[in-house]
Symmetry: D2
Subunit: 485 residues, 4 copies
């Protein structure tokens, strides 16, 4: 079996696959039909043609051919909830056709020498580099994150490609001298065959990159299902990869891609032709996927929930800390895998940090993520915005319950009246024991709390059930090494 | 070729091979004859019998047999310059006999599976553990370092043995998938055959351990020449190893050992049967060995001179620093590979550190290294003591020349009247530009200097021609990472 | 998290945890009571005292104290189905007490420097070495494998200890230069805390060694549940480890051990204090354990079913192949993780190999595994013997159904009339398509089949649902590399 | 210190730096002046303009500026000994200016994050890819190897660039848990500063690639001196690198390049600013460089002489062997680092292989290396051609002396009458004991000899003083593993 060693560098992180949303969107299809034509007429959408997108798109790249016999859905711009374009998702027949071809292509791909596979991945990196601006704009447009983040996400795949090229010459096996005379053991890494990749809306292409670049150099074909609400990114990315495969006269089925919802996800989880499934999304869905995959003796790579804290010690550089917290809590509108949800402040600098933070929160520019200067774009869907409002209600009710520990909204706390899914960046003063703190609200809501000792801060940090990629601000080496173990 | 990867962890360090001394000692042989008998009658020397030593010893273990046809020398106790025992060194005929057998034994040893070689090294470790106290006492007696250091040095070989056992199951080669279809490259580590090890008086057995443990598990035979002034340690160590080889019915020539001087050293350097020579000693002799070995296309591992500094920053824990400096400058009577020779103090804490240091220097107990409580034993030879006195004269003269930069002996500065080679631990206040600072005085002499900025401190640290294993005291992570690169 | 990297070297293998048996045995307790006393009076059982066993034993080492408040069971000698000794298993209260102490001990153990933990593991290795003969005899007596295998299994843990000592100095983290200037990433391995180890009857101590040696040097405490039918081995092994911990003044709870059945196994699977559970046994139970552990976000190491083939090519050394097949199919009475269950012979040498094999099968000496010369001991339990007989019935019925493909018992096929659980080593000529070939019969039954091409042989090899550690006999490098990938 | 680990994969190999030739060429400068203008007017030389070359070229890239104040030399086409273009070499003043700037640039380059350095190397790879055909033609034109080899050599650097990009994210240091509680050791790789690279005529750019790509990602500046007879390649390669540095606003001095002879080579060897010197060339010059570098405590990477054998066993695929021998002995006109100089044939297939070989040698097409179909181009210089003729005389005389062992020229043996440096591919039947076999004749001369056993063949293989990258043809795995150790 192939090791995909990059994954050991990451803690479990929080993503969402919002499959119910895909259903409700398909109900809206008809009424949005006209709008789609209009959108594409707009000047600011012209760049979409440069990456192969039109008003109506087939959402399934199977056996090297674009097809789509499933439901027609509409991709929505979260800044104004207007349609961008239509996509025909994969049907279960499309899935089966695609997987058959992929299974055949796997036999070809694993026979190609690893460094040659690396050369293909290098070309994919170059093809992405040539369309970096357009792909970055599309991420920003369809997902809602600001442009710098959109471009940064595409750059991340490019970096992964470059890195994987080097790895393609390092997939060494071992010759192990045994304890028996004239006896030698050979150990080689063989491709698994096919790796399934199920990604979430918040990183609609970077997560593909982590998985696909490694899988491809390792000799595995890739089957990708992107999030149902970011189908255009799925299609645009796939077109780049498909172009490189075609140019090299390789079967397109080496990279098979499906736009679709829970049904396609379940098909992947159950498919014995896919020995490894990488899933990014909620803990709840992740556990279900894992169970299904394990039952057929497959393996899973899971990237699930996170509830990260930033701890600011009494000796910290407060300005640096405040700036970093802003970026960590508000970036990607709080929908990031590593969003900071809890801010733990040492009592001696509690008020000073908080004052600085409230000051910088006031200056956050909210609006169209494609506009220069915007720091906070919309939440990804109307449903997410509603979820934010429900969350704020719960916070308010719990804040009361634990009122002796403080507990109040210091800034923000409302959705913004507009066509889009905009909400205010929010800071809540609350006790670490409040129930709501142990849950995830996938929005720019930051819980602030006070601590007295490092030990206490670490205990609070570890008191939530989700995965952690927490961080700390301090100058003291002894605290640093205590922190990292 | 085999990699001996441990060596990458060490900077070049200063040791001495005092070959002239071996000559002068052999001239003294006759007059010391009677004394040797007397020493062995003493109760405190009885433990020597437990590790196979007597008043007269053969100094060559060749072809699994103890022999010696070279000059008879006397091992001297540096605490009183009285004889401990006599040793007959190897003649060049002994050398040639030994190497012939070793060359044959190499064919046997490299055929034994690596994990089985590891098992032999494990047994050597256990045999050393059983005689830890006696071997440690002998190091202390013959070399002059205090007992804790003597035992610590033997423990270091034991640790190396345990570590090497694990390595014996990790000598993996690689299977490298190439860029050609159906093509595979195999890469294996093969034993070199024989590794020559030339060690110095100041670590008369640990340095053997670093080399021999790795060489043996790698499948190489070992040819060892210890320092001419520590022949008893060479013999006692060899007897332990020989015992294990015999018990396992292996050729004794796998570990071939010669007491001897420059002549044997040169024979090793020139010997085309020895593809790798590890040498520890002075830079001057090291370069000569390297040149000789390279000319016959052999390889060298060199451990040469050092001139290490300790930098104390303004935020350092001063008590911790003072204690560490004492240990680093006075330990092994300043004859250690990593002895601190230069103390760089930030101007703001200069006087405070110096005061503390002078205080602790006063309390250093000087005397018989075997006695509990002693912190500073004798220098290794009478010649080293004379060298110390000459060095002090030069320091005094240069201190005058650079008087505007300070420059004076703050404590110590004299040899101690006694039968042994004792000298006072010495602190000298001096400019970093003084010539004497850039040379090595292999004795407990510490040069103290002042600096204002980190940049300046690093420049002073790097301004000497010798190797460095310097260190720094600070709490600031940014300074730490600047320091380590 | 700590990597336990050794596990990547092993394919999933077939073991059994026969929890129903533990229940039926406890029903037998009363009637066996007297017999136990008698057994211990026997001269051949005297060695049990030397490893701390008596006629009545407490089966739970918790918090450094021997206790046992669960059911009293009897350990049975599979050669004669007579009792060896009694064991009081752990109750759920014992479990909870033990885990509380273990959880506390984990805080201590992870603070001890890794090389010091390595030193403890080295001492465990030495303590095992001192009792190698007795422990090997016990494995043979209680499990039923022949003495050479019993001793070999204990030697395997000793080797693991030696290997782990080396690893204790290699648990390095990384300093990763990032793409940002003056930015550095530190990555360290931290102990998990507690590793749960559930082992099976067929390797009652080696599997513990693979897990415990690595876990201990990594800084994890170990909680062990051995198989319910090999409690004496569990106790004897634990006493060795406990002795070392005590001698070093460490909490006994660092190594916590429970004799018990499914109830204790389930408690481990559910216990959130145990982030990693290593399970060896049937695929069915393994999947259940994995599901339970995953639901609480724990991780699993599984060693499950195997159905291994030996492929003999037309150019093979036939004598070597026949000897190897005998060892692979009959060793440990076919109850080994890597037992060969299917023999694939190239048609051109089919009859020759078969003739040789039938010849050597005739000479297999069956009997008391402790007697010198015995090659085949009893099956582990009376139930296993009955299972063998049922399996033979199925084979016979299927052989008829596929008669056109051959299908008949060539040798063996019967249980042997005796007090013990002995069966005949059996060879069955059968089609690769017969259903029974795709199931596991945990007994010395070998299915022989014919093939024409390498491709066909590899397809047959891969046509079973279980894990594989198959092998091949050939001289051709191109076939070898085809085979390994 | 930085490890340049790639070098461990290569055996010492034979290259030539023919510094006397550069002197004699400069004497010819005047008379060739006109010819140079003519050459550049030729249509087939037009491609040189596309890689920045003209009739007169400055041969020193120092401090980011092209200059040249040393002797003017002429680059000669070995196919007709006519001038291609003129180059003004570096003077010692140019060298000193260049090194000063390089030493300053090193401070900048080592501060740039490793992955950013990798990005520069990636761009260099892309810039080379864009000029692959032209650079390959130039190698063929100026060095004399056939076009496929010329292009292949440039491709090798491109591959090194791609590989090094991946390495730029893997230069990890270590965090080593020590045996002391709460103690941690950090180990980081720091750049050396400057790496000197002295390359030979036969691989005028690939060897630069091995060194420079690794050095650059490691944070080291590069100082390159190419062979005096291939200055156009040196200049063209440097222009590619310089272009990338300029485009990224980096100091050109990061890559400093000198056309020049022995004087510049000696300056590099002596220069204390260059801690590591990589040298490729003759063993004689290599030893001198090493000695000079070592005396100033610098380090060397040497690629020296080779005398490789191909062993053909009795079971070998004879056609495959014959084809491979042709390529190995005649490729690059026998001037390759891994040229096969000795063919060892098992007596049972001796005549059959020889017959086949003589047959294929007859079909070798000799001529202009740029023409399609040519298999054997000219030797690199007129002097090399003369050397070939002298070598043949010696062979003939020794063949007589050992006539009882056979010894005669079976094919070839003459230079070819032409304007260029062409010689016939030559096969000589000779005893392995003949003196001439132990020397190197850097030309397409193959010595054929007979052996009876594998042991004998390995002894013959190892009986020469030069480095080895020998190979063997067999089907037997036991022979393969015997062969590789």
């Amino acid at each position: 079996m192939i090791r995909l060693s990059l994954y050991i560098y990451r803690n479990p992180i929080l993503h969402f696959v919002s499959s119910p949303i895909s259903t409700s969107l398909s109900l809206l299809t008809l009424s949005l039909q006209f709008e789609v034509q209009m959108s594409f007429a707009k000047k600011e959408y012209e760049f979409l043609k440069e990456i192969g997108l039109g008003p109506h798109n087939l959402g399934c790249y199977a056996s090297g051919v674009w097809r789509g016999n499933g439901p027609v859905i509409t991709s929505i711009n979260p800044s104004n909830n207007q349609a961008i374009a239509e996509v025909t998702e994969a049907s279960t027949e499309d899935y089966e056709e695609g997987m058959k071809a992929c299974f055949e292509a796997a036999k070809t791909w694993m026979q190609i020498p690893a460094p040659k596979r690396g050369e293909i991945v290098r070309q994919i990196g170059d093809a992405l580099r040539a369309k970096l601006q357009q792909l970055g704009r599309l991420v920003s447009l369809e997902m809602g994150k600001i442009l710098a983040e959109g471009i940064g996400e595409v750059q991340e795949i490019i970096d992964m490609c470059d890195f994987a090229v080097g790895l393609s010459r390092q997939l060494n096996g071992s010759i192990i001298p045994s304890e028996r005379p004239n006896h030698m053991m050979l150990e080689m890494w063989n491709p698994l065959g096919i790796v399934g990749v199920i990604t979430a809306f918040n990183f609609p292409c970077a997560v593909l990159g982590w998985n696909a670049c490694l899988a491809l150099v390792c000799g595995d074909c890739v089957v990708w299902k992107g999030a149902p609400t970011t189908p255009l990114i799925t299609i645009a990315m796939t077109k780049i990869v498909a172009g490189v495969l075609e140019k090299n006269n390789l079967p397109g089925a080496i990279f098979t891609s499906f736009c679709g919802g829970a049904e396609i996800g379940q098909a992947i989880a159950k498919d014995t032709r896919i020995p490894l499934v990488s899933f990014t999304g909620s803990s709840k869905v992740g556990l279900m996927v894992q169970k299904t995959v394990n039952e057929r003796f497959g393996k899973c790579l899971l990237e699930l929930s996170g509830n990260n804290a930033i701890i600011v010690m009494d000796d910290a550089d407060i300005q640096l800390a405040a700036r970093s917290v802003l970026f960590a809590a508000v970036g990607t509108a709080g929908q990031r895998c590593t969003t900071c949800r809890r801010l733990l402040l040492h009592e001696s600098i509690y008020q000073r940090v908080l004052d600085q933070l409230l000051e910088v929160y006031k200056q956050v520019k909210i609006g169209d993520p494609l506009l220069s200067g915007t720091l906070l774009g919309p939440l990804h869907t109307r449903a997410a915005r509603e979820n934010f409002e429900k969350g704020i209600e719960i916070i308010k009710s719990q804040a009361l319950a634990v009122s002796k520990n403080g507990g109040k909204i210091l800034t923000g706390g409302s959705a913004i009246e507009s066509e889009g899914n905009f909400v205010q960046p929010t800071i809540v003063e609350i006790s670490p024991n409040a129930d709501v703190v142990k849950e995830e609200l996938f929005a720019p809501v930051l819980y602030v709390m006070k601590f007295q000792t490092l030990k206490e801060a670490i205990e609070i940090n570890n008191s939530v059930p989700q995965g952690l990629s927490s961080s700390m601000f301090t100058h003291k080496p002894e605290v640093i090494f205590k922190w990292i173990g």
